[in-house]
């Protein structure tokens, strides 16, 4: 039973899978809020007509950054020993940093709009905290289940 070794094509596939999900979400957003936010955000300049090639390219760059971050912190390719909680914190922090860079460089919303920044940071922080807590709870439950099974095995 050989362990499957990932190639560069696996990572490219993963980046495009993320890209597909993000584009689908943004198309949904454009249909819902595109018309009202077309003048506010460069992401929805076409309103509910869809996304521009520039936006698609920006989302592809974001997908690549997400894949790199995912590979770095949510696998043991580069970092061998680290707790799941710390991995999640580092993953969400790096993703947030990547999104902030994209917002600034691509002007996804007006940079002087503190309400937009506050909304973005609060919602992202909330997602991070929930993600870390859920992952920590799952990790603890799984460890307890394995430990119980081990003790049962050793008693038999």
């Amino acid at each position: 039973m050989m362990e499957e070794k990932k190639t560069i094509f696996n990572y490219i596939g993963q980046a495009f899978a993320t890209f597909g999900i993000i584009v689908t979400l943004f198309i949904a957003f454009s249909l819902i809020i595109g018309e009202s936010s077309g003048e506010y955000s460069t992401l929805f300049v076409l309103g509910k007509e869809g996304l521009t090639i520039a936006t698609l390219l920006q989302l592809l760059i974001l997908s690549v950054l997400l894949t790199v971050s995912q590979t770095a912190f949510l696998t043991d390719v580069w970092i061998r020993s680290m707790s799941a909680s710390l991995r999640n914190i580092l993953f969400f922090t790096s993703v947030m940093a990547a999104v902030i860079v994209m917002v600034i460089v691509c002007r996804w919303f007006p940079l002087d709009d503190w309400k937009a920044w506050a909304g973005f940071i609060v919602s992202f922080a909330l997602c991070t905290v929930i993600g870390v807590l859920v992952s920590r709870m799952r990790e603890r439950a799984e460890n307890a289940r394995m430990q119980e099974a081990l003790e049962k095995y050793n008693r038999s």
Partner: protein
């Protein structure tokens, strides 16, 4: 190699006699494999051969085509390959947890899930070994979790 098997009700015990011109590695291997039926394994340390109860073994590790046997405090070497150990001890408390390691489940102190469905095993002497993704399901199955 000639093999003779004599089955007769007159024998009360099972006796295996090995006749050879000299003690070769093959003969030693044969003895080791038979010993494993009695849950013992022939191991070497500093050119001396010992018979070790498998219950005392924490894990086997294959390094550069050599097989090392680890107990709580000592390290030995055996002529057996890892797949031979696996074949004979799988029915007991031993389980392959990676390409290089077979562990004695009864020597595991604790288990901790790691990223990518791997498991970190802490042995009773504090040593830690990683169960690779491909073998972690088998460990879960052996423990009745699957």
């Amino acid at each position: 190699m000639k093999i003779e098997i004599d089955i007769d009700e007159k024998y009360n015990d099972t006796t295996v006699v090995i006749q050879a011109g000299r003690l070769t590695q093959d003969v030693e291997k044969l003895v080791t494999l038979m010993r494993m039926v009695n849950m013992q394994i022939a191991v070497k340390q500093n050119d001396e051969t010992y018979l070790l109860d498998t219950g005392k073994i924490m894990y086997f590790e294959s390094v550069d085509r050599r097989t090392f046997v680890y107990t709580e405090k000592e390290t030995y070497e055996t002529d057996l390959k890892l797949y031979e150990v696996e074949k004979d001890l799988l029915e007991h408390d031993f389980l392959r947890i990676s390409k290089q390691v077979i562990v004695n489940i009864r020597m595991i102190k604790s288990l901790r899930s790691e990223i990518n469905r791997k498991i970190r095993v802490t042995l009773k002497n504090g040593e830690q070994i990683i169960v690779s993704r491909m073998y972690s399901d088998e460990l879960r199955r052996k423990l009745g979790l699957k």
